[in-house]
């Protein structure tokens, strides 16, 4: 039953994304930036999905440390992996936009620098998991690192903002200047992207559960 709901949600999210992409392609180009502006319909929802994913990972990590229930560890790793995917996609789409509008792939602006740092922190989390053999220790250490990493994100953002204030800031377009029907498409994409993240997390969660079952069976076999 759970699988049917999850795959149903996945298909629905993919359908909304596909239909929305077609609809967005039909919208007129933005006056100043042209067609590349439309990347905002994907770029911002990707960051929103990444934000949701790492927040879920933080809550799951804290709950693991409190309850020692491995389901929370699985939730933490699943949502962090999905979060890193969205972070990567967000960085990539941002770079494509930057190349078109700024003429450069990358600039050491406050947002970009903190985004890259988030990516490095969560990639470090996944690397740490690879480096610890023992499952209980792996889950504990990963949860602790996740808490440290999440604590760092706001400090990083504000410190880099201070650090870069004397430099010219690139202008980000708020959603406030969006026409009404554009906002609608934007929100559809937002919902679809988050739904896609949920589906991927749940699928990854299932893998973790199966992995743990296999490990348990293997231990039982070795015990005899």
């Amino acid at each position: 039953m759970r699988d049917k709901i999850v795959y149903g949600l996945g298909i629905a999210a993919a359908a909304v994304l596909a239909w929305n992409t077609y609809a967005i392609a039909g919208l007129p180009d933005e006056v100043n930036q042209g067609a590349v502006f439309k990347i905002i319909f994907f770029h911002v929802p990707m960051w929103a999905a990444a934000g949701v994913a790492v927040s879920v990972a933080l809550i799951a990590s804290a709950l693991f440390l409190i309850t020692r229930n491995f389901a929370f560890d699985a939730a933490a790793v699943a949502s962090t992996e999905v979060g890193v995917c969205f972070l990567t996609a967000g960085l990539a789409t941002g770079s494509i936009w930057g190349r078109q509008i700024w003429g450069i792939w990358w600039t050491w602006d406050a947002r970009l620098t903190s985004a890259l740092l988030c990516w490095i922190l969560y990639a470090g989390y996944l690397m740490l998991r690879r480096a610890v053999e023992e499952p209980t220790q792996r889950a504990t250490f990963a949860a602790i690192f996740n808490i440290f990493a999440f604590l760092d994100v706001p400090i990083v953002f504000f410190s880099i903002k201070w650090w870069r204030t004397q430099h010219p800031q690139p202008v980000f377009w708020g959603n406030g200047s969006f026409p009404k029907d554009w906002t609608q498409h934007f929100l559809y994409n937002m919902a679809a992207m988050v739904a896609l993240g949920v589906v991927m997390t749940v699928v990854r969660l299932r893998q973790e559960e199966v992995q743990r079952e296999i490990d348990a069976v293997r231990r039982t076999v070795h015990a005899f």
Binding site: A131, V132, Q137, F145, D152
Partner: protein, 237 residues
């Protein structure tokens, strides 16, 4: 072991225990000098490498000196922090320490204090060497510079010590420690680089730069608190 004689700890015992652990670490380090020698030699090598990276005679050296110094300190400090718990692995010393009748946070603070002293010592040796090689008159604001060094080094030590405990038994320990600590240290390092550059140029901290001082204090407070809460989990599981 006369464990039967141990009475409930009197007041002030925690400070005494922290000091005991810190002195134990310092004593064992000063007898072998393995971490501190490696760290100092490494700092020297990086200082040498920098002279090829840019013109050491140029005036711009002073402006980027804060960044250079903290890269040296962060690299050299990692060598000391890496050894902090790794030193306890042979002969199962770590199990002995964990089994000792002291709380985890006392053990952590003892180790952190010892590491702080060692990293500060390396920094205070590397600083005049940097001044001589790069022709920088770094001591004009010595008191304030010492304060900034202490604040940023404490942040580095706290993060380094807790992650040293975390990485001690995992694969690729030497790589994982800087991989995990540097990204977390970024806010503190930016602040330290900024303030150090200002002070090395002979200017006092003022105006906007005071915000960086507050950032350093906040960073130290947040991560010291988080480490004290989580260290028991790291050590015992």
């Amino acid at each position: 072991m006369k464990s039967a004689e141990r009475a409930p700890a009197p007041k002030g015992a925690a400070a005494f225990q922290i000091l005991t652990i810190a002195l134990k670490d310092l004593r064992s380090e000063l007898r072998t000098k393995e971490a501190i020698n490696a760290s100092l030699a490494f700092a020297l090598v990086i200082l040498l490498m920098f002279s090829f990276a840019f013109d050491p005679e140029a005036d711009t050296t002073r402006e980027i000196s804060g960044g250079l110094l903290w890269i040296v300190f962060a690299f050299a400090g990692t060598l000391i922090l890496n050894r902090s718990f790794a030193r306890e692995v042979p002969n199962d010393c770590l199990d002995g320490l964990i089994a000792a009748p002291v709380p985890g946070w006392v053990l952590f603070l003892g180790k952190a204090v010892a590491n702080f002293a060692l990293v500060m010592a390396v920094e205070l040796v590397a600083l005049p060497i940097f001044g001589i090689f790069y022709n920088v008159r770094w001591a004009q604001q010595f008191g304030e510079l010492l304060g900034v060094l202490a604040l940023a080094t404490w942040g580095m030590t706290v993060i380094g010590t807790i992650f040293s405990a975390l990485t001690v038994n995992i694969r690729l320990r030497e790589v994982m420690l800087p991989m995990l600590t540097y990204p977390i240290l970024v806010p503190a390092l930016i602040g330290a680089m900024r303030l150090t550059a200002v002070l090395v140029m002979g200017k006092p901290i003022g105006g906007d730069d005071a915000a960086w001082l507050r950032l350093l204090v906040g960073f130290d407070a947040i991560y010291t608190a988080a480490s004290l809460v989580l260290v028991e989990t790291v050590l015992v599981g």
